[in-house]
Amino acid sequence: MTDFYGKGLLKGLGITFKHFMNTYLEDIRWLSRGKRRYFTEEGIENRKSIEARGIFTVQYPDEKLPVPEEFRFIPFLIYEVNGDGEKQDRCTSCGICAKVCPPQCIWIERTNDPDTGRPVPEPKEFYIDVDICMNCGLCAEFCPFDAIKMDHDYEISVYDRLEKNIYNKERLSRPVEYYASIRPTNYNREEAARAEAEAKKAARKAARKTEE
């Protein structure tokens, strides 16, 4: 029995059979360990990892594939709530994101102080045309104030784009806690860097004072 016609076919069918059986073998293995394979976080984690054998499907919307921290979809703006309970935008309307945006989908209107006429570090309006945005993440990458970040929310289908798909400042704004929850590593790194910069600034100030 060396080579006969159909040997390759049969071998190939063996692979599909193995694939088919793996699902059930895996199910039995999980069952014997007393664990649930479907609709549990552990199960999803297993099916998306390199240990996945047999069935590979993650059953959206009942199960959702966890997105990694760096995942990027549409940008959003971060605001902080200050001591008086007011929303404070991190954005200073410096315009770097609008300048760096490859498809030019960001429009920023700068606020001017009504008395002096000089620009105030807060945008009056901030628009992103979602139908142009290419989710490239350059705005978030080059924002010097960590004010614009990429969102994880991808469930944003709409029936009418003309009304809904130009996002204004209100639609774009999210609290800083939301950012911390979706991107903890980045958030902690940025906060640490900021604290360090503040400390340095304070040290310099103190040094100057002692010199005086």
Binding site: L9, G12, I50, F71, R110, M134, N135, C136, L138
Partner: protein
Amino acid sequence: MSEEVLVEQKTELEERFPEISRDERKGYAGFIVPAEKLVEFATGLRDEFGYDFLSSVTGVDYLPEEKLEVVYHAYKTTGGSELVYKVQVPRDNPVVPSLTPVFPGANLQEREAWDLVGIRFDGHPNLKRVLTWEGFEGHPLQKDWQEPFYEEDGKPFKSRWPGGDVIRSEDNNPFNKNVDYPEGFDPALWEPVGESAVYAGVGRLDHAVSETALSTDQIVVNLGPQHPSTHGVFRMVVRLEGETVVDLEPVMGYLHRNHEKIGERNTFLMNIPFTDRLDYFNSMSNNFGYVLAVEKLMGTKPPERAEYLRVMMAELTRIVNHLAAIGFLLNDLGAFFTPLLYAFEERELILDIFEAVSGSRMMCNYYRFAGMARDLPDGVFEQVKSLVLDRLPAKIDDLDTFLTNNEIIRARSIGVGVLTAEDAIAHSAVGPVLRASGVPYDVRRADPYGIYNRFEFDVAVRYHGDIYDRYLIRLDEIRQSIRILEQVIRDIPEGPIQEGKPQYQVRVPAGEAYGRVEGPKGELGFYVVSNGKPNPWRYHVRAPSFINLTALGVMGKNYKIADVVSILGSIDIVLGETDR
């Protein structure tokens, strides 16, 4: 090739062709050839100096000098760096002799240069528009041509900040659409030309298919652009004698997204995410090619760790691409979906890595000038390691057993769609298509870029030039990629991933550069001309899928219509790159 050899060769060339002159503009290289001497020069270069591979032909509009320029990049298939030569013609009468009779590989590229830049090629057998349609008004890449939604010559646009009031571009257009018409145009008097021109190319009657065949009427059949086996919106017009293909012409442009025009409006950095969308299977290697071209101009290099990361991502993307290519090829051969599903499972696992690293599954936007966007997040390196070392080799072996000896696949693909080595070189075929025809040419080896000269790997080569070999070579290349990845995983150092501070406005000195990488589909080249401004003056992509299609006619002729579908699958085209 060392500098001295290059200089020596240059003087030799000048002695042989006294009419040519060196290109002495700052930042430029190569020779300027008088238009009337072009064919003689190109033929001599091929026959006497060994530059047998005409890789890229493109046009540049030098508006201030009132000149149009055609730029040619030639290589030796034995390896080495490029030889650039140019022909300059006045803007009001841009006629250049065609190189298509000598190098058939110039065919589609010359048509593209006519279409987009407006250079007429004298002696071209079929000079008509390729990416836009016959009857289109103007040549879009001429610098004074403006699109309907024109705002400014270069980004960033002033209307975005600080007084940025949002407006949709179409609201300024009288038709509320992205259209514009020449003055005095009357649609009622207008006669369509487009469709008849498409069929003109296969209009030649040729009865000498087979002497024993029944004499039948030849018919013209149109495949696509909406056809499940054309891998997107590709279209073929075939002339058939019975079921046998007599003549075949690819028709493209159904996904022409103005990549190059937009690229010239963009700043240098903005082009990186746009390159993602060229060949959307392999955004990483597209990034790589473009970044290399601009780094050549800037004269910078990334730090050590970034170099390793670049190779790692480029090789992972090669695996992704070849898996998908095999899956789709098998779809075309009739193994509907099962091999594709298996291939896509592994693809998903690699895409998970891309997503974790860069934030997006397909549009990675991960390479930066002189560095990378970010370092590997925690845990990703281990993920890559276990995937490459533990899972992939076994899965590739599985795929091999599953398909390679399958009798149906063998019957349908062995000896079908043969492309000889000579034809492959003449038609400027690259990548797996060229190597499956027995030419061991791989840019990673022939003209190493990045740190590829440090790795040990074999250039996969097969000798029959049929569909089966083009399938096998992809399996070989996946195995070689795994081999390179093993070395990367072993050697990758710690350290910074960006040279200097990341900047959104890079200074690029004036000059030209051609960066090329061995993309999964073949040699992917970026020709960038800078004039010192924030936006590139010219930005051209030498797309492997586009140029490989030049050889489709040769491969498809005299085979059955059902085979043409799988021949197309074996070239592995991606329409985003073909049409740009």
